[in-house]
Symmetry: C2
């Protein structure tokens, strides 16, 4: 999908963390000829993003760009920005791409092809630095977009964090409920459960941090979800099939809108 | 996957309803050479399964086999059995297969290949009739299993009905919450939401009937799910990341067990 650049966008890329995302960035950057040099440090050496920012800060050259790939943006800004010296350009970003696999061996060059990467520049972000990072993500194969960090967190709470929490919950509930029927539960997983188990196999550490770091937005959408689920629960109890039918018809339309957007 | 039979299992198959499942049965039966003749009536002529049983009852020959493909079994037994004359063999069945598409043009011969079909014979079911129907489903490409109707309904409430209800709910909640951000919600659906929209595009009429007909089992698993979700919601509110991490680690193991079972 991506043609090699005629000249690299960056002289040097330093990756901190080379799991699924970092490893894929390295492979896709090499594929696209986006950097003269790529160096990497494993994340276990530096801990979480705020601590990483604190440790790397003294070594950062003026005018260099610092970015991240976290699923929550406001918390990343709060944790990293105070450590970064003036003259360094901080441009948070979030590639909305991934698989249920994690670790360095999970990375592949095509991970970002055609997927969205959301940049969340800050009000004082240097326009040229934002443009440069955006060009880099396009070079990795992504489509790009820009959002305010708080808007990003609200949207992802709906499209990603809530679905993951629900999937984790339902897989746990099914496992508990199965009891002596557990082998049958796994056997007949094709009926819908299987899709949830795939989501619920995502990296536990990363997802714990997502929920800890996007607490307010997640709790808000969770409450709305609970209300809606109780509405359906009550409709089932009282035999009000029309309420179910109306929702099921509406959600089918949403799927059609999504297919229309070429996302499905 | 399936080789043509040397001789047909049935002289005549009469399908009532030729949507995704009925249409696929016709195509797979032809592929496998399972019947000398296949005739079909559209379901809109006969209404629900109890009414269908009542209408066809006078025309049924002694020793013929009557079956169904419903997602809930006890309710089907209750609705159909009283109408069926003595000498006719009633063997309910449920192919755990489907797509989010419905209607006759959605059918395809490979739909049942490698999937499970659960037969729920009754205590007085004729053993030869059950064997014959089981051979038919194997000829269509299925693996087969036998369960008590009530066990079937409990297991499917977990593996299929609850996941569908949750998917329908979350897609509706997201649509309501999106508001002015709705186009972004659809755009970033790849973060997890997309899998739910696929499930939530399933046939509204069929799924309304599933929830109306398997009410007790669905309400029971729903209550368990709600408890578990509130547990996680509280953990998020109080910053108890270890509770999330423990569950997320456990659900990942369940996925691995599922892959081990060659279902994923």
């Amino acid at each position: 999908m991506t043609k090699p650049q005629s000249s690299p966008i960056f002289d040097k890329i330093a990756l901190i963390g080379i799991g699924l995302i970092g490893g894929s960035i390295a492979l896709a950057a090499r594929r696209g000829g986006l950097a003269t040099r790529i160096v990497a440090a494993t994340r276990s050496e530096v801990g979480a993003c705020g601590e990483a920012a604190r440790i790397i800060a003294p070594k950062l050259k003026p005018d260099c760009i610092v970015s991240d790939v976290g699923s929550v943006k406001q918390a990343v800004v709060d944790a990293m920005k105070p450590h970064l010296p003036a003259g360094v350009h901080f441009v948070p970003a979030h590639p909305v791409a991934g698989t249920e696999n994690s670790g360095p061996e999970a990375g592949f060059a095509e991970l970002f092809d055609g997927r969205w990467t959301i940049l969340t520049p800050l009000p004082d972000s240097d326009a040229a630095a934002v443009d440069k990072l955006e060009a880099f993500w396009r070079g990795l194969g992504s489509q790009t977009d820009r959002l305010d960090p708080a808007d990003h967190d609200r949207i992802l709470a709906i499209t990603s964090h809530l679905p993951h929490l629900i999937a984790y919950t339902i897989v746990g509930t099914a496992d508990d409920l199965g009891g002596h029927l557990n082998s049958e539960v796994l056997k007949y997983a094709a009926g819908g459960f299987r899709d949830f188990t795939r989501i619920a196999a995502s990296d536990p550490t990363m997802w714990r941090d997502v929920f800890m770091n996007n607490r307010e937005a997640v709790l808000e959408v969770l409450q709305r979800f609970q209300e809606d689920l109780f509405y359906l629960q009550r409709a089932i109890r009282w035999g009000e099939g029309d309420k179910l039918f109306d929702l099921f018809t509406r959600t089918r339309e949403i799927r059609r809108a999504l297919i229309h957007l070429h996302q499905a």
